[in-house]
């Protein structure tokens, strides 16, 4: 199954309103410090970056390390400036890449 994302952006906001954005994505965040039952190290497999663009302009970015819990949860704020699309992207080890979008109407 592909990574599952759960994005919460208010569908409607007033121009200039500060809105909270919540994001959750399914990912093991294997930290690279563990060993399997044969004593072999388990390779690191984490999400390393998360970005959010609002109508194409990057408004937020995070660099993630192995100490982020499995199924990373990140929330932040932005000012509702205009109607359009928020585009989220997660990238990580082993070519991991996942996108999600959310629409917002600004009045």
């Amino acid at each position: 199954m592909a990574a599952r994302t759960l994005i919460n952006v208010p569908p409607k906001a007033k121009r200039g309103e500060v809105i909270q954005i919540k994001t959750l994505i399914s990912h093991v965040m294997e930290n690279g410090f563990r060993h399997d039952n044969m004593g072999k190290p388990i390779a690191r497999d984490i999400i390393t970056t998360f970005t959010c663009a609002y109508n194409g302009e990057k408004i937020f970015e995070a660099a993630l390390y192995p100490a982020i819990s499995a199924n990373p949860f990140i929330t932040f704020y932005t000012v509702a400036t205009e109607s359009g699309t928020l585009a989220f992207q997660w990238t990580g080890d082993n070519g991991f890449s996942q996108e999600a979008t959310a629409k917002i109407t600004v009045e």
């Binding site: 563990r34 060993h35 039952n37 970015e61 660099a63 192995p66 100490a67 990140i74 000012v79």
Partner: protein, 154 residues
């Protein structure tokens, strides 16, 4: 799809390896010195002062695998005066860096939340860098209590 049996074994092994609730252990843990180095790397030589930033972590944590953290910074968040970055570091995880956020004036409000892993009872540090180059910090000492019913420790 991982085979559930091997997934279980991995988990069992993890518990053997870590003797605790958190799944983060390797021989060389981060030390206050390596945390200091990671902080330098993140914010350069700027003088880091206490204040303006508030780190919220529960002082007593039930499970080190998932610790809710929020950080907020006092800032007008205008083009002239905003928070550029927020970083979280730990003292005793295998690696001091936890997460680094990049914000800009469009955020409106400098507040972020995430969930982190803590390998041990330790100090968590949050540092922010403002648009004027000043750096501020806050820290919280977190005590981990351990889970009683453990996955396949035998």
């Amino acid at each position: 799809m991982t085979d559930p049996a091997s997934r279980m074994n991995t988990t069992r092994r993890a518990f053997l390896a870590v003797a605790g609730a958190a799944l983060l252990v390797r021989p060389a843990k981060a030390t206050p010195a390596s945390m200091a180095a990671a902080i330098r790397q993140a914010v350069g030589e700027a003088h880091v002062k206490p204040g303006r930033i508030k780190l919220n972590v529960p002082p007593l944590v039930e499970n080190g695998n998932v610790v809710a953290v929020s950080v907020s910074v006092e800032s007008p968040m205008t083009e002239k005066d905003y928070v550029k970055t927020i970083h979280i570091f730990t003292e005793k995880n295998p690696q001091p860096n936890v997460i680094s956020f990049q914000l800009n004036a469009r955020a409106g409000k400098a507040e972020v939340q995430t969930r982190i892993r803590l390998a041990d009872t330790q100090t968590v540090v949050a540092i922010c860098e403002m648009s004027d180059g000043s750096c501020w910090s806050d820290k919280v000492d977190v005590v981990l209590t351990l889970s009683a019913c453990l996955e396949d420790p035998i």
